[in-house]
């Protein structure tokens, strides 16, 4: 998250409708918000829609921004909500309240893969193919786990910031984060175990 730049903007000017100040805000936050949307949705067209809607909403609601959260948290929250709405339109069976409800079953799935692939060389762990797989694996997470994982582990928000962004309790964020991480570990274990076998076959 681009926290450092948040204080560089004059809330007063923004609220007064200063177009230049808003243009500066858009210029500063469009890349990180686009990246967030792309990671949450995995599709450039959807990410662009979310980006545009985020700033349209921000413009519309600047007067309601109370400054309790930081400007960047506020923008992230709008973008996360827009991404959620888009997911709902695409998958009507998942309602937004379902994605954000505090219905945390505390259960985490027991691990099933026990191959130790940590010893694989770095160029194998982060090969182009592996990078693609890592990104696809995130897209395969159930949306409610994906949101938390992207904000916390990819965008680097704290547990508290993630909970503020998604309006979830910190306990719910932690549970979802653990489930997302374990989910990804299973997927990555299957992928890298294959690479490990390939390596051992080589003379």
């Amino acid at each position: 998250m681009v926290e450092a730049t948040a204080s560089e903007f004059s809330l007063e000017a923004l609220r007064a409708g200063d177009r230049q100040e808003f243009a500066r805000l858009v210029a500063a936050y469009s890349a990180p918000l686009y990246r967030l949307a792309l990671r949450m949705l995995g599709n450039p067209q959807d990410a662009e829609d979310v980006l545009q809607n985020t700033f349209l909403k921000a413009l519309q609601h600047l007067n309601e921004f109370e400054g309790r959260a930081s400007l960047s948290t506020w923008l992230y929250r709008i973008a996360a909500n827009e991404a959620l709405m888009l997911l709902r339109r695409q998958r009507p069976e998942t309602s937004v309240s379902d994605l954000l409800q505090e219905d945390e079953e505390d259960d985490v799935e027991m691990p099933a893969q026990f191959v130790d692939w940590c010893c694989l060389p770095e160029e194998e762990l982060l090969s182009d193919e592996a990078r693609r797989y890592l990104k696809e694996a995130v897209q395969r997470l159930p949306p409610k786990l994906r949101l938390v994982f992207v904000l916390r582990d990819i965008e680097g928000l704290s547990i508290q910031e993630t909970s503020q962004t998604l309006h979830l309790s910190e306990a719910a964020v932690k549970t979802r984060l653990l489930r997302a991480r374990l989910h990804l570990r299973e997927q990555l274990s299957a992928f890298y175990a294959e690479r490990l076998r390939g390596q051992r076959k080589q003379p």
């Binding site: 858009v26 210029a27 469009s30 792309l38 026990f114 990819i154 570990r185 274990s189």
Partner: protein, 86 residues
């Protein structure tokens, strides 16, 4: 002081906090003690740590906003691109 004894299932619930360094010392010690005796849990902890660090690595990949996306955004918002961005 008696040591905390953990089963595999208990350990699983503490993993995120442990890997994020947010677990109290006694519980961290209990996890390490358990790992020394349980090969499966050791692999789970190590590969989970690696999973998180790979995604951190991925997050440093630069992602530039495509110029045409930025242009369409500024057009939609009826804004002029700040000079330093042109």
């Amino acid at each position: 002081m008696s040591e905390i004894h953990l089963e595999c299932h208990d350990l699983l619930h503490l993993l995120s906090d442990y890997l994020d360094g947010e677990l109290q010392a006694e519980l961290s010690a209990a996890i390490e003690h358990h790992m020394a005796e349980c090969g499966h849990c050791r692999v789970v902890v190590d590969t989970l740590r690696k999973t998180i660090s790979l995604y951190h690595e991925l997050s440093t990949e630069p992602l530039v906003l495509p110029a045409e996306v930025r242009e369409r955004l500024f057009h939609t918002l009826q804004l002029t691109l700040p000079e330093e961005q042109r």
